[in-house]
């Protein structure tokens, strides 16, 4: 081959334009500061920041993490400094870098969601990711994200206030993810991201107590990858809006699998705890795959799975 051409990595997820499809997943990357010591944040396509609420939240009692086979349970419980501190202190920091900023927003009531989305619509962020699925806040996301009515109610209300690309993040803890996905689409979501964590539990048999102070927590990491991949595949076939896939991705091969299943971009979380370089490295590995297999761009991978 002469003049090797490298594939075009750019993606446009319903108005969220990124130079490549790799995004740091919410809650695993803080507001980027910590990992800026490890690599240039401008390498990334996007950063979904720690889940924000209107007011600061202090989170759940520790321990907040448990290790499980090929996975991790967490019960952080949305500890965050509140949306105002985020806007004042974190956006200016993040804007030093050439990276899309996705504001991950949570609330306990529809009014909370409306209010935070209204505030974020005036802020310098590229996209709002609605977290309706955090399993750790008792009267919070879980109720909304786990039923089609709940989703419809929140997303419809929020849509009216939202002046940014609106990404709705789905919980996997449901009977039929396609029903929830379609409800989100119908209510006005511009795109969907999935999966959030799978509700799980770990027990210390010596103390005979749950490992987590919160008893249950959300499972993430390689263990959930087959579940996430299945849901992304199902959802991508069920809706017309773009899908951002995540859950256990820890390499370019994993990212490619999610894109073949129908994802337009991917998020990576837990794997970064083990290897912070997974974020930038995955971008390179996707490029290699595209070049090796003759795909002209990352977008060409989306949904390119062939069935038996």
């Amino acid at each position: 081959m002469s003049a090797e051409k490298t594939a075009d990595l750019r993606v446009n997820v319903a108005g969220l334009r990124m130079k490549n499809p790799v995004i740091a997943a919410s809650g695993t990357f803080g507001f980027g500061r910590e990992y800026a010591e490890y690599f240039d944040l401008s390498l990334l396509g996007g950063i979904s920041v720690k889940g924000l609420t209107l007011e600061p939240r202090m989170g759940n009692r520790p321990p907040r993490i448990a290790e499980t086979p090929a996975g991790v349970l967490n019960s952080v419980g949305l500890q965050n400094p509140g949306v105002h501190r985020f806007i004042e202190r974190e956006i200016p920091f993040l804007r030093q870098y050439d990276v899309a900023v996705i504001a991950n927003a949570s609330g306990s009531t529809v009014a909370d969601y409306e209010a935070i989305v209204e505030i974020l619509s005036d802020a310098d962020v590229d996209c709002i990711e609605l977290n309706l699925s955090c399993p750790n806040v008792r009267q919070g996301g879980m109720t909304f994200g786990s039923s089609a009515c709940g989703i419809t109610e929140v997303v419809t209300a929020v849509r009216k206030k939202c002046r940014k690309p609106l990404m709705v993040k789905l919980t996997p803890n449901v009977t039929d993810i396609t029903e929830i996905a379609r409800a989100s689409e119908a209510a006005g979501a511009d795109s969907l991201s999935l999966i959030n964590t799978v509700l799980g539990m770990a027990i210390d048999i010596e103390t005979r107590r749950p490992v987590l102070g919160n008893t249950v927590g959300g499972l993430s990491g390689p263990a959930v990858k087959p579940i996430a991949l299945r849901m992304v595949w199902q959802v991508a076939r069920a809706v017309a809006i773009p899908v951002v896939g995540m859950g256990g991705i820890s390499s370019g091969s994993d990212a490619v699998a999610f894109m073949l299943a129908g994802a337009s971009a991917v998020m990576i979380g837990t794997a970064g705890f083990v290897d912070p370089m997974v974020w930038p490295r995955t971008i390179g590995e996707i490029t290699e795959y595209l070049d090796k297999h003759g795909f002209s761009g990352a977008g060409k991978l989306t949904g390119a799975l062939e069935l038996w």
Binding site: G27, T28, F29, G30, R33, E34, Y35, E37, Y38, K50, M58, G59, N60, R61, P62, P63, R64, I65, A66, E67, P69, A70, G71, V72, N74, V76, Q79, G221, P222, A223, T270, G272, F273, V274, D275, P276, M277
Partner: protein, 257 residues
């Protein structure tokens, strides 16, 4: 993520092993109280990194030591690493102990595996009068005795069953010690109940106290907020993060409950 070469592995007791890392980088950067977040191979049986304190550095040999107890899957895998192989570490991470002014005096109080980070602390403050009070389960659990002895003016050891040193806890030693003299600072690391007691004793005697806290970690760098530790915040409390704001805290800041 740095690949550090293992220069030696040495069992100090039936379940405590010293891993010697050949690393000028660590020698020149490690401060007492800081830790490494160590990857235990690429097995999914121990997916997360393990936080282990830096126990000692040796400028002559260009090595840094970590000493750890084999407890679960991760430390077991780590104990199987052979000299010459490489381990993947992040760090030094976290805030170090705040030193005492030269000419001052300090007491370190260590419980079991919590004593390890205190060795480097003693070693880096030769110009300070140093006393070490260590508590162990029993005679078999006593490790690094010589190292502590040669890096302090006085070393006292207590064992729960009295099989080595005095019978009782390190906090009993601390109690007696503070009744006699007030050091500029007490440094404590060990099991939670022991740290709670030690801080109480220090507060009672109005002596400054620093503690090194343990918590289960995810990222180790402050990004995931899982390593929460209850600290005082006005009348109430807040969850502060051990990996980034700690592991060393002013003992008075901690809410032990």
């Amino acid at each position: 993520m740095h690949l550090e070469q293992v220069a030696g592995m040495e069992w100090l007791s039936p379940d405590v092993i010293r891993m010697v890392l050949k690393s000028e980088r660590l020698v020149s950067s490690a401060k007492p109280g800081q830790f490494l977040n160590v990857r235990c191979g690429d097995s999914y049986r121990a997916y997360l990194r393990r936080p282990i304190s830096i126990c000692d550095v040796n400028r002559e040999s260009g090595t840094a030591d970590i000493v750890f107890q084999v407890r679960g899957a991760g430390t077991e895998l780590l104990a199987g690493v052979k000299p010459g192989e490489f381990v993947d570490v992040m760090g030094p991470l976290g805030n170090p102990f705040k030193p005492v002014q030269p000419g001052g005096s300090m007491v370190v109080v260590g419980g079991g595996i919590g004593s390890f980070p205190l060795l480097l602390l003693l070693r880096t403050m030769p110009e300070v009068r140093r006393k070490a009070l260590l508590g162990f389960r029993s005679h078999e659990a006593v490790v690094l005795e010589e190292a502590f002895a040669s890096n302090s003016e006085r070393l006292e050891i207590a064992t729960d069953d009295g099989s080595h040193g005095q019978a009782g806890f390190a906090t009993n030693l601390l109690e007696r010690c503070l009744e006699q003299e007030k050091p500029d600072c007490v440094y404590v690391c060990g099991p939670l109940p022991m740290m709670k007691a030690a801080v109480g004793i220090c507060m009672h005697h109005d002596v400054a106290v620093q503690v090194s806290m343990e918590q289960r970690m995810g990222c180790g760098v402050g990004a995931c907020l899982v390593c929460a530790c209850k600290t005082r915040d006005g009348e109430g409390f807040a969850y502060t993060h051990v990996c980034r704001e700690g592991p060393v805290f002013d003992g008075r800041e901690i809410v032990f409950d």
